[in-house]
Point group: C2
Chain length 191, copies 2
């Protein structure tokens, strides 16, 4: 972020009066350009204890499997966004059953809100951001070919709940570990 | 949003290729400036069935009562944001007990995440954005002087849970009704 969206002047990075963190501030018109975390919203679509996953046709993590999810848009609800992403990525229609998980990804300033959902029919197919869409039972899940740690955690939590016969809300922080490679840890927090 | 933050060229409003909604797009450098909903995070701080509220020292709704809450910042978790806002607005230290409510406010592209929390001590006082901070039991709540519909709904839900002796997650959409005045309705959704 280099220039002011209101007046095109070059921005400064400084702590505004009465604030306690560095912001992009316009010295010409005074606009403060706040930057805030984004919500990623999506579903775990279920049909008879099997989960619908999408193989990604786009970067990052092209070719790997994920749950249908994406950035929430302005003027929609989290649930509307989850239904939209499920339709866009898997051409699938679902009924939302409950909030399944809230995961913080502070290293990339994202919050995932994922819903358990029931497939209304089996007429699904790859959307333009997917190569392939299919149902997996627990033994079939491609654990080593899942696109993101947040998807691994959400699916582990779902199948644990399924075995226990009791579904609950899961919350946690997914933190990137320092050093090379894609190493993460999850810290489970109070739901 | 008039100018590109990357190159200062005047922005166009159009649907980017492969997208389906109008975005601010830079015709000079190609940057697409997405705008997404913001998370408001906060707590319902509890001490012996009484709730801590803050009387607002700032606009909007100066002089009215609210729960400590505010915009989530980059690089923090929702829970860290809730603790920070509680400290900033009420100089109060709490332990987070559970997620109390998720409310969509699509007309202003906000999502509220509010946590039930227990006050760790009674050494609270107004922060710089508050005129007054105090504990209220249910009969004392200033229902007609609450700042926002989302606070009314969150407190109603809390006291209902308290009477039932069972706390659960509340979800809903708070929609502004057309016409003059501050009229809203809440649509309760599946938790």
């Amino acid at each position: 972020m280099k220039y002011c969206t209101a007046c095109a002047a070059p921005l400064e990075r400084r702590v505004p009066e009465g604030d306690d963190r560095v912001r992009h501030v316009c010295p010409a018109c005074g606009t403060i350009h706040y930057q805030n975390p984004k919500i990623v919203t999506g579903t775990i679509p279920i049909h008879e204890d099997r989960v619908l996953l999408c193989r990604r046709a786009i970067e990052p993590r092209r070719g790997l499997w994920t749950a249908p999810a994406g950035f929430m848009e302005n003027a929609e609800t989290v649930q509307e966004g989850a239904l939209r992403e499920t339709r866009e990525e898997a051409n699938a229609r679902v009924r939302i059953d409950a909030l399944h998980a809230v995961y913080n990804l502070p290293h990339i300033s994202q919050v995932y809100l994922l819903f358990r959902a029931t497939l209304l029919d089996l007429d699904f197919s790859p959307g333009r951001e997917s190569l392939e869409v299919r149902l997996f039972d627990e033994r079939e899940i491609p654990w080593d070919a899942l696109a993101f740690p947040v998807v691994i955690e959400a699916l582990k939590a779902y199948f644990e709940d399924l075995r226990r016969g009791h579904f609950r809300l899961h919350m946690g922080d997914i933190e990137r570990l320092p050093g090379p490679g894609r190493r993460y840890r999850i810290v489970h927090t109070v739901p």
